[in-house]
Point group: C2
Chain length 420, copies 2
C-alpha cells in the first residue's frame, strides 16, 4: 500500500464515524485534542438503522445486571450530552420525553412483561404495571387487543440521525474550519471519508498510525477503534494479542411517514406472541422521504435480530414480521407511508457489553461492540475513552459510571481463550 | 404562459412518455412521422410499478368480455412487437415464456378460481385446472398450503422497465440523432423532458399545439394524449366536449432480489382468502438494487388496488398485505431482499376499457385509461393510434383486433352525460 500523503500527526485518530466514534471525536476535540475520524460513509452503519430509544430499563435481560447498570449510567448522561451538543453544534438535539409504554399482546406476552418488571424492581429500576385500558387512555393509538402494559415515565428517545448530524457539525465548529478542508494541525476534529485498511505499529509494538484506502498514513498519538463488526476484525488481523470479539447481528428497521392521521405520542415497546417490537414516533423526521411540517411524524419500527453476515439485505420475511407485529400494537401504522427499509449489522460481543478502553496493544483503544445500545451508550463511552486518552478519571461522574464501565474492559476476552 | 421557443411543427406530439405513449411514438416514428414526446419523467408513472404480466386470460372478469377480447388481441401482438423493438433498439426485449400458474389458497379461493375457469372456457380461452400436487411438481417453490391451481401455458411476461428503455432507444434510433438533441424537423422521434400544461386550439377548434411547463409551444399535426389519470383531466379543462373519464386507482408493487436461493420459474397468480396477488420472476432484473448475474432473479410482487388520490404514498398496510399474501403462495420470498416499494396510480375508466382513438376535438387523439393493462395493451393501442393518425385501417390484423378496439372508442363517454 503506497503512502501517498503524510498529513500531520493527530493526537487521536478515530476509526469509524458512527455515533460512538463521532461522540468520542467530539469530546476529544472539545478537550483540546487534535482528532481525525476515518470513515468512508460516516453514520451509514448501525447508527443509520437505530431508532434512538434511550431506554435503560427495557434493554437489559436476565443475567445482564452489568448491562442494566451501564445503560442507566448512560441514560442519565444523555440530557447534558444533548444540551452540550446542541450548544456546540448550533443545532437542535431534542429528546422525546413522553416516556415509553411496554405493552403485552397476549397473556403469554403479559407473563413475559411481568417477569421483566419483577427483574427491574429487584434492580431498583422504575417501571409500573398498568391496565390495558389505562395504557389506551395514555396512548389512544394502541390497538384493541392488549393483555397488559407498563409505563416507564423516565424513558427518553432521540433522533439518531439528527444527533449524528449535530456531532459532525460540532466537530466542524471545534476545528474552526470548513468540514473536509485539508488537515492543518489546528486543534479540533476533521472527518476524512476514507476507510481504514491497516494499523501501523512501531518497533516497540505501539500502534502509531492508521493507513487509509487512499494510501494515506494518519499518524496518531492514540488510535480509537469505533468500528462495526466486520471492520473491527479486519483491522486486528495483524495484532493477535488484541482480542475484540465482535460479531454482526443484523437488524432491520423501517421508517414510516405517519402523515396527518397518526399522532402517536409515546414510544411503544412490546412483545407480540413472544416477538419483541418497538414503534418510536418523533415530530421532525430526518428519514428519507418523510414529510415535514407539524402534520408529519416520523415513526421508526424495529427491529429484527438475525445472526447473519452484514449483507445489508432487507429480507422480505423480516420486513413482514416487523409490520405484522407493529400493526398488532399500533394498527394505525397501516395508513402510514413506508419510506425507508434499513438493514444494518449491529456489532455485538459475547456478553452483550461493549468493549471500551485501552487494549492490549499500546496506543490502541477500543470503543466497539455496543450492539443494540450504541446511541444510548455513546455519551458514556465517549467520556470513558476521553478519560483513558487523557489519563484522567471521568470528571463528570466517577462513581456509578466508573463501576458500570469496569464491566466493559476490552481485556476481558483477551485474557481467556486468546490465540497462543 | 409565455411561449419562449417555437420548435418546428411535428406530425405528432405525444403527451406522456409511459409505455403506451412511447409505443405510440415509436410506431409513428417508424412509419415516417415526426414525433415529440412530452414527459417530465418518462416511465415514472404507472409503467414504473407494472410487473409486466401479459396475461390476457386472467385479467378479465365477469362482464368484461370486451376487455378479454382486447387483452387477447394485444397478447397476440406482443411477440412480434418485442422482436421488432429489439431489432429497432439493439436491446434485448425478452419474453418470459414459462407460463403462469393460477393458484388458490383455500377452498373459497378454489371456488373463485373454478368460476373464473368456467368463464374462460365459455369465452374459448385456454386454461386447465390441475391439482395442487401437480402445481407443486411444476413449480417447487409453491407453498405447502394450496387448495388447487390452474395452468395457463401461453401466458407471457415482459420486463416493463426493460421494454420502456428499449422504446426510448428505438425512438432515438428512429430519429438518427442523440436523444435530447435540439428538434430539427428530421424524421423520427424525440423525448422532451417537460410537462404539458395546455392544449392550444385554432379558431376552428382544432387542437394544433401543446404548451409545456418551460413555456415552449409544440405545434403538432395531431396530439395524442397518453397521460395518467391526473394529467388527463387537467389538460382537458378547456375542452368540455372531450370527455375522457379516467380516475387514479393506486397500486403498490414490490421488487425483491431473490438471491441465489429462490429459483422461481413461473408467474404465480393467486387468490389468498379472496385477495388477489401475483409473484412475477425474471432472470435479469432492472429493478433498483437487484443483484445481477445468474444467481439473482428479480421478483415483482403486486398489487394493491386502492381508490385513493395519486399521492405516491406506499401505505404500510398495503405493503404488509402484499407480503402476507405473496408469502402464503411462495414462502421462499421471506429470504428475498426487499429492494423497492413502488406506489403509482393506474389510470382507470368506468368500464375498465381504455380510451383509444380520435376524440370529439379535431386533432386530438386519446390513448389513455389502460388501467392495470397498460403494458399488455401498448402494442395494440400503438397500432390503433397509428392507423387513426394515418387514416389507414390497421394493416397487421384488421379482423379480431379491429373488433376488439371498437370497444375502446373515446366517444363512448362523451355521448352520455357530457356537460351541456
Amino acid at each position: 500500500m503506497p503512502t501517498s500523503a503524510r498529513p500531520p500527526a493527530r493526537d487521536v485518530v478515530v476509526v469509524g464515524g458512527g455515533i460512538v466514534g463521532l461522540a468520542v471525536a467530539w469530546r476529544a476535540a472539545a478537550a483540546g485534542l487534535t482528532v481525525t475520524v476515518l470513515d468512508p460513509a460516516p453514520g451509514d452503519g448501525a447508527s443509520r438503522a437505530a431508532a434512538g430509544m434511550l431506554a435503560a430499563v427495557n434493554e437489559a435481560d436476565f443475567g445482564e445486571r452489568d448491562l442494566a447498570r451501564l445503560n442507566l449510567a448512560a441514560a442519565a448522561r444523555w440530557p447534558s450530552f444533548a444540551a452540550g451538543l446542541a450548544a456546540a453544534s448550533g443545532r437542535d438535539v431534542p429528546l422525546l420525553r413522553a416516556g415509553s409504554l411496554a405493552v403485552a399482546y397476549d397473556a403469554d406476552d403479559l407473563a413475559l412483561l411481568r417477569r421483566a418488571l419483577a427483574l427491574h424492581r429487584a434492580w431498583g429500576l422504575a417501571s409500573e404495571e398498568i391496565s390495558a385500558a389505562d395504557a389506551r387512555r395514555r396512548e389512544p393509538y394502541l390497538g384493541p387487543r392488549l393483555a397488559g402494559a407498563a409505563v416507564v415515565e423516565g424513558d427518553l428517545a432521540v433522533d439518531p440521525r439528527g444527533a449524528h448530524a449535530a456531532l459532525v457539525a460540532a466537530l466542524d465548529v471545534a476545528r474552526g474550519a470548513p468540514l473536509g478542508a485539508p488537515l492543518d494541525g489546528a486543534a479540533g476534529g476533521t472527518v476524512v471519508r476514507q476507510g481504514a485498511v491497516r494499523l501501523e505499529r512501531s518497533p516497540t509494538g505501539r500502534v502509531v498510525a492508521v493507513h487509509d484506502d487512499a494510501g494515506t498514513r494518519h499518524a496518531a498519538g492514540a488510535v480509537v477503534l469505533a468500528t462495526g463488526a466486520t471492520a473491527t476484525g479486519a483491522l486486528l488481523d495483524g495484532l493477535p494479542q488484541v482480542r475484540l470479539p465482535v460479531r454482526p447481528v443484523k437488524g432491520i428497521t423501517l421508517r414510516l411517514d405517519a402523515g396527518p392521521g397518526l399522532a402517536l405520542e409515546h414510544v411503544v415497546r412490546g412483545t407480540v406472541q413472544g416477538r419483541p417490537v418497538y414503534v418510536v414516533p418523533r415530530a421532525a423526521g430526518t428519514g428519507a422521504g418523510a414529510g415535514s411540517g407539524p402534520n408529519h411524524r416520523e415513526i421508526v419500527v424495529g427491529a429484527t435480530t438475525e445472526e447473519r453476515p452484514d449483507d445489508r439485505r432487507a429480507e422480505a420475511g423480516g420486513v413482514f414480521a416487523l409490520l405484522r407485529d407493529a400493526r398488532a400494537l399500533v394498527p394505525g401504522i397501516d395508513e402510514a407511508a413506508l419510506v425507508e427499509v434499513t438493514p444494518r449489522a449491529r456489532p455485538v460481543t459475547p456478553d452483550n457489553l461493549p468493549l471500551v478502553g485501552p487494549t492490549a496493544a499500546p496506543g490502541l483503544l477500543a470503543a466497539v461492540g455496543h450492539g443494540r445500545n450504541g446511541v444510548l451508550l455513546a455519551p458514556l463511552t465517549a467520556d470513558a475513552v476521553l478519560a483513558a486518552l487523557t489519563d484522567l478519571t471521568d470528571p463528570t461522574d466517577p462513581g456509578p459510571a466508573a463501576a458500570a464501565l469496569a464491566a466493559t474492559d476490552p481485556l476481558r476476552f483477551a485474557t481467556r481463550g486468546a490465540p497462543a
